[in-house]
Amino acid sequence: MTQTVKAVNAQSARQLTRQRRLAAWKRVWKQFRQRRSGMLGLGVLMFFVIVALAAPILSSSNGLDVTKANGPLLGPPSSRYWLGTDENGRSVLTLLIWGARISLFVGIVATLISMVLGTVLGLVSGYFGGWVGRITFRLTEWFLVIPFLPLAIVLASVLGPGLFNIVIVIGVTSWPGTALLIRSQTLSIKERAYIDRARAIGAGRWHQMSKHVLPNVMPMVFANTTLTVAIAILSETTLSFLGLGDPTRTSWGTMLDGAYHAGAITTGCWWYVVPPGVCVVLVVLAFTLIGQALEEILNPRLRAR
């Protein structure tokens, strides 16, 4: 009997935490739903995610194979090719659909790298005082002043073109912003009473960090992530345009690169130039709107406005 009671209590303590967090997320969701711009962003994003996931259903991957392409070269939109064809006779629409996969993939994976790096370094520099904190903080600051695009270009030229290289390049060049944000959050959470209490009852640093600090900075990390994805997708597009992308895979950036070098501007092939760019703008805008909405909800300072 007593045992069961204990068990129930033990369970409910954990459950309680879980419930509290769940409730918190529900609250966030409720607030989020009230923000029209955020919902709009989410809608657009869902659309592209579905397109990316359903790419094999929407169009055969054979459409990407230049050896199987038999459309006209740079042909205008027609009933067969809704968005015209590229310089190899492939359907632009097919490229666009499959390009969504690569663009989103690069954006998200690069952001994950950047988030992990940024969160770890931000936590460390915020939580630890002394030289550890100081060094990581300085490191972050230094990285912050290295201009992103030149660094990315240099890295990409050194590593050579390739999908994973571009992911790595974007990942390792975009973390400092996140790190600073996490650091400032950590600093303020560190001062709160419950951390003192935890410390008083003997919680180790690892425990404090993983059980108290991290869960509390997570919402900010989350909001920041969506903003970083937006930037990562833009970066991928730009690097691909500069010829540093993976030439064997189709992303929106490599499409624009192809269009530019095939002379699509001069020959007036708008169908090859406009759609990939519009997709980039929509997706980046979607992530930005979502990120902004989340930030407003999660960041008390902004909420006050």
Partner: protein
Amino acid sequence: MSVPAADTGLAEAEAAAEGGQPRRRGYASYVGFKVLGSIGSFFFMLVVNFFLFRVLPGDPARTLGRGRLSTPAQVEAFNKTYALGESIPRQFLTFLHNTFTGQLGISVEYHEPVSTLILHALWPTLLLVGSSTILATVIGVYLGIRGAWRRGGLFDRITTGSSLTLYAMPEWWLGLLLIAALGVGFWFIPGLFPTGGLHSPDVDPNSLHGVLDTMWHLALPVTTLTLAYLADFSLIMRSSLLDELGEDYLQTARAKGLRDIQVRNRHAVRNAMLPTTTIIALNIGFVVGGAITVETVFSIPGLGLLATNAIGVPDFWVLQGTFLVASAGVIVANLCANLIYGWIDPRVRT
């Protein structure tokens, strides 16, 4: 692209404000502190620069010297200049020495000193980025203020919406669209603007005609960059003004009987200009980085084009040199921004 770094000053100030003890310094010591920090950044950047170009695959004399080194004597001289045969610390010292004496290497492509190439390319970039920054500042600040003042109004919604869209747009794609629409022309509309270059072939750039001709050539690239910067500036101006509008002192000011417009211009805007100034100062540091793609699309013979052209060769000396200049620019601009900020707003001198 300038976004992550654009927060530097702010994020730092914020971090300092939130985390640090309110140990306020005098301006002199603040300056000293910041200058030291910048020197640290610069040193770090040199280290990064050094190692990035030492991890290149292959024999440096071959990779970095490429076809230019034809005799063993030349290879030896090359290795000696860059201390390539020696230990890493020794190489690093030599690298420092070369950097500070302006020896940035010889371009593989043009066999001219990289420093000369960079000097030549500096002016077009400054012209392009400078005029865009000024235009974007004026327009962006204006839009930001107007938007924030009537928050949620039609004007605000339109400007915020278009700023966000512009922000989401790769600036070179915008440039391509402008080229297609206004340079190439479409339908029955002829192209009015040149699609690239800085001046017409046989125009003396120093004559009045030449100046106008250059303006004409710069119209599209400057518009492109202005729109790109504008998005940043107006959003930041708007949000920092919104921040200020929530502050109590404005209520006090209104209570004193000041007109709205006076409250806005004398108090709120003045304070909100701080972060915006910082961002703009920082932006100037991104001269190279920011204009790389736009210069490429519009064939403006500046630093950005120099760098992108070096990618394909690849001309590592040029890449290293432009990277160095780009980073140095950001560090100096960053320092200036911090100094201005610290001077105007003592709160950040922690």
